[in-house]
Symmetry: C2
């Protein structure tokens, strides 16, 4: 049958090209219109297919694989609201610069906007939130259209992957009948050019030698420089930026997601408690820089964000290899579009070794003081959110991946997880900082990053309960540390907390759920922590499958614990700096 | 403080106008940027606030309230992916013509596209899937901007509600600080015009008398007319269309969602088993019409859709009060934009009473034959999906609402739920026919339609497990009949079922979940049905809270049962029509 042959050849060409362009994982949600693509993908000898019924979780799962593997991942669903369920993960992928190839099946043109079942307008469905949208041609077997399928696929993978990485969306109209011809031996054999149709060589943003030299001169003119590193994904960056810091004697304020808080790189210049001490006005005055060089996303820390904004009068260089505009404070003085590791490596030769460590020493002194004050958290007997992060920094095995929720966990991690020489990869969905899809993203990461730990609060856990099924279905090992303070703990830190009327209703939102039940449903192992020795024993025990360890905390006590520590740090800083005046 | 006063006055004006324009329910998902709107809403003495953590479920919950109450419902969330989670329900609301007012909080302009936390591009976030988008002005207290807030609110409610109803999206940029002044006594007191700012009077589409007369004459010229009614939401329609049918002696092919399958109206002309007998070629030839008048959405039944398409050579009138284009077969000969009940009522006076019942009798005879054959399902001892619908048609109490899933349940309902004089409201999400949000939509409907029964399959149940929390949090009574065939039963009816390789992996997708656990977590009552007498006892027992009754069925046996019945009907039709030749 001609239709069936065209359908099969066209899709097989596309699918075979996917793999040749670096896609190894496809997350498929079952559906009817997507039948031909799903069936052909299942025949591919190399592609890994993950079948996930809930498209929202499926897309986050794919996001997690792509984040961890730094390879483009494809997702496939049927027409209709299935595709709309992908939207949250696509938005996140776009801002977090994660390569996703979104494949949606659609009705053909004659069945659109005429009341046909499961037909919605999928043209530009994700609006400005994808890098590229293509309404695909109908399947044909002509050499030209086969070339088209292969070329578009190569372009899609390359567009998703090249900086700034992000999602692309290809919408495939398919006519019935939808069953491909799978008994063909030559299913994935190309008609021409066996090694992929077109290879795309894509460069990174690089300045000229003259620009590096000029910027190096600018930088060298300042004595009080700091380097701020937000989230950045690059194997080479840690070494490059620590070398630059050493040459300049500049402190590096390292966000948890900078991948500088843990690792085998030189930790000398890493400042890891700024989130606490930059709450203090005296410290901020004492440490006022004359130059700020920023890499990666805006940092998680609000005190640091405020510090950057308050220093609008000093030089601020923002280096962005993705060509974005990461400067909500409108304080940048130089916007430098250059791949970050390359920038560090390229300016170093133009900079002479600084011998003046006095400014760095000021940062180091306050950082040490703050670290020692924060260590008091370890003495708490009660179960505490802060201490949990202090503990796991010590307990996690070398090589672990630590995924954290976006609300209090990433902030407590920022406060209590200090530099260490283990290789711990810290991950979070900090593109749009959503409450959604955290379990699924972590599990996706878990397909290629093990051992995997996930720390999240009860609302975030609830939001993506469906995501847990991936652990069961795909046999992924994950140890979830569920901080259950029965509601939205972060709101206790916000101004509405001082307006008790309706606070619990609108913001506290206790769910009063016993999560043990749902963990059992997914075949997981559940444990409720009674005390810290129990916690330690559980964290050190062997991990297989889905494991949920619940730590019950108290929102009111939590804010008191945090405030007491911050006050103690402030007092000590006051004492220290008083002595200096 | 000037900022706070402006923020409060602006939002209070908007919120007060919401209520004056018919919005009684608001579904709020907790978040930070939406704080001022949420806090002001909570102060309103009349608005009902429903707090729902998962925005996807929250939006479907609102959709359910709006569907059942036929009033606009507002949803409110914070900035970022929260808003993206609304997308599936918005897409559904747009196609299903359900009035939703989507309120998203956003960062102000200076914090957009600059890497600020939780900031995504929310301008036209839902693209073509909303009827109206407004990027709201920043809060101000000037009389002009207060008038603006009130006017936009009135326009939003009216736009959402007027035919075709649908979702509208208002995006609110809010600057910090976000806390409104709630100690004001005059919070909701308008500066001018106390009864709402502008009242919008909106008409329905109506033809001229001349057009009614002409169409009535056309219609009267045909002897073999049928009326096809898809999903339609109007209290007046059942009476109007049954009167028209009686005058013309035309059979009414009544879709389950036409609200004609149950009710106190005259059932004489209702044909309720066409989905079965229109599979038969002899029946289709025997019953070939010369005129088809269609109201509402395209019917659920595929055999009927095919029948409509095959009759492309006869006159087909499509009446649509929403001015859409509900004709995937491209078979309409007259597209009539007129409110449906009005159309029926207005053409009747121009039509003389037909005395020729012979064509209707042909339909009636085959319908009776089919009904009696289908009744064989009631004799099955094993638990069967078909029999379940046959049983509940008998067992449901008068006044019940029956919500059904989109995959097999709506189809089995179509086959086995026959006309009765109880007032049973049948509901489903048949705009885009998604697997998503079914539990939440049903629970939303349950806030104003009780007693409430929901029949759905295990995959649909799984997809919206989070939705169950609304039953617990808001104390909504719902009896869920969970048909668990451990996977996607509908695919067994599709062509891929004859390609066993990868079928279970891609389409069967068994989840192997014991749902009892999750029902317990939500404080529900769970029962696994052992046999039909057990089923009957459970269905007749008193219902409070969340109740999940699981009926385990078998996908392979299910298709055999269906095929045997269809074959039996076909044989009997063959016998009947043979006698007539």
């Amino acid at each position: 049958m001609n239709h069936q042959e065209a359908l099969t050849s066209y899709i097989a060409a596309f699918v075979s090209e996917l793999y040749k362009n670096g896609v190894e994982d496809v997350v498929v949600s079952p559906g009817s219109r997507s039948t031909p693509m799903a069936m052909v993908m299942a025949e591919h000898p190399e592609l890994r297919l993950h079948i996930h019924v809930d498209e929202r979780s499926a897309a986050f799962f794919a996001l997690g694989i792509a984040k961890a593997s730094r390879k483009p991942v494809a997702i496939l669903c049927t027409s209709g609201t299935a595709a709309a369920n992908y939207f949250p993960a696509i938005v996140e992928a776009n801002i977090a610069r994660v390569p996703l190839i979104v494949l949606t099946a659609d009705r053909p043109h004659e069945l659109r906007d005429v009341g046909a079942p499961q037909a919605i307008n999928q043209i530009h469905l994700y609006g400005s939130h994808v890098k590229w949208f293509v309404e695909m041609a109908l399947p044909e077997k002509s050499t030209e259209i086969i070339r088209y399928a292969r070329t578009v696929c190569a372009r899609a993978a390359s567009t998703a992957l090249r900086s700034p990485a992000g999602p692309v969306h290809l919408n495939f109209p398919f006519r019935e009948p939808l069953i491909p011809q799978l008994d063909r031996k030559d299913l994935f054999e190309p008609l021409e050019r066996s090694n992929g149709y077109v290879r795309i060589q894509s460069g990174d943003l690089a300045l000229s030698d003259g620009q590096y030299e000029e910027l190096a001169e600018s930088i060298s003119a300042y004595k009080k420089g700091i380097i701020v590193c937000g989230s950045i994904e690059s194997d080479r960056f840690a070494e490059a930026v620590t070398k630059l810091a050493k040459k300049l004697r500049f402190p590096i304020l390292a966000d948890p997601l900078s991948q500088l808080r843990s690792g085998k790189h030189d930790g000398t210049y890493i400042i890891d408690t700024y989130d606490t001490f930059l709450k203090n006005e005296d410290a901020k005055n004492h440490l006022k820089p004359d130059l700020i060089i920023r890499f990666g996303t805006m940092p998680v820390s609000k005190p640091l964000t405020i510090f950057l904004k308050e220093n609008h009068d000093v030089q601020q260089f923002v280096v962005d290899g993705g060509g974005g505009w990461r400067d909500p404070g409108m304080v940048s003085s130089e916007m430098i579009y250059c791949e970050e590791s390359l920038f560090c490596t390229a300016v170093i030769p133009f900079i002479s070794q600084s011998e003046d460590t006095s400014y760095f020493a000021q940062w180091e002194e306050i950082n040490q003081l703050t670290r020692s004050q924060l260590a008091a958290i370890s003495e708490l007997d009660v179960l505490s959110e802060g201490k949990l992060f202090y503990q796991i920094a010590e307990m996690l095995p070398d090589g672990a991946t630590l995924f954290v929720g976006n609300s209090m966990p990433i902030r407590d991690l920022d406060t209590f997880f200090h530099f260490n020489n283990k290789s711990i990869r810290i991950m979070a969905n900090r593109g749009a900082n959503g409450i959604d899809g955290v379990i699924s993203t972590a599990l996706g990461a878990g397909t290629c990053s093990q051992p995997l730990y996930l720390v999240l609060g009860d609302l975030t856990f609830f939001h993506d309960l469906n995501g847990l099924i991936a652990a069961k279905q795909f046999g992924i090992n994950i140890h979830i540390l569920l901080i259950n303070n029965n509601g939205g703990g972060i709101f206790s830190f916000l101004p509405q907390a001082s307006h008790p009327k309706n606070f619990e209703k609108l913001f506290g939102t206790p769910l009063d759920l016993q999560f043990e039940h749902v963990v059992k449903m997914y075949g997981g192992q559940y444990e409720l922590i009674s005390d810290w020795s129990h916690f330690s024993a559980v964290l050190h025990s062997e991990m297989t499958g889905l494991r949920v360890t619940e730590v019950t905390t108290n929102r009111d006590r939590n804010i008191v614990e945090h405030r007491e520590l911050w006050d103690a740090v402030s007092r000590e800083i006051g004492r220290l700096l008083e002595g200096k005046c």
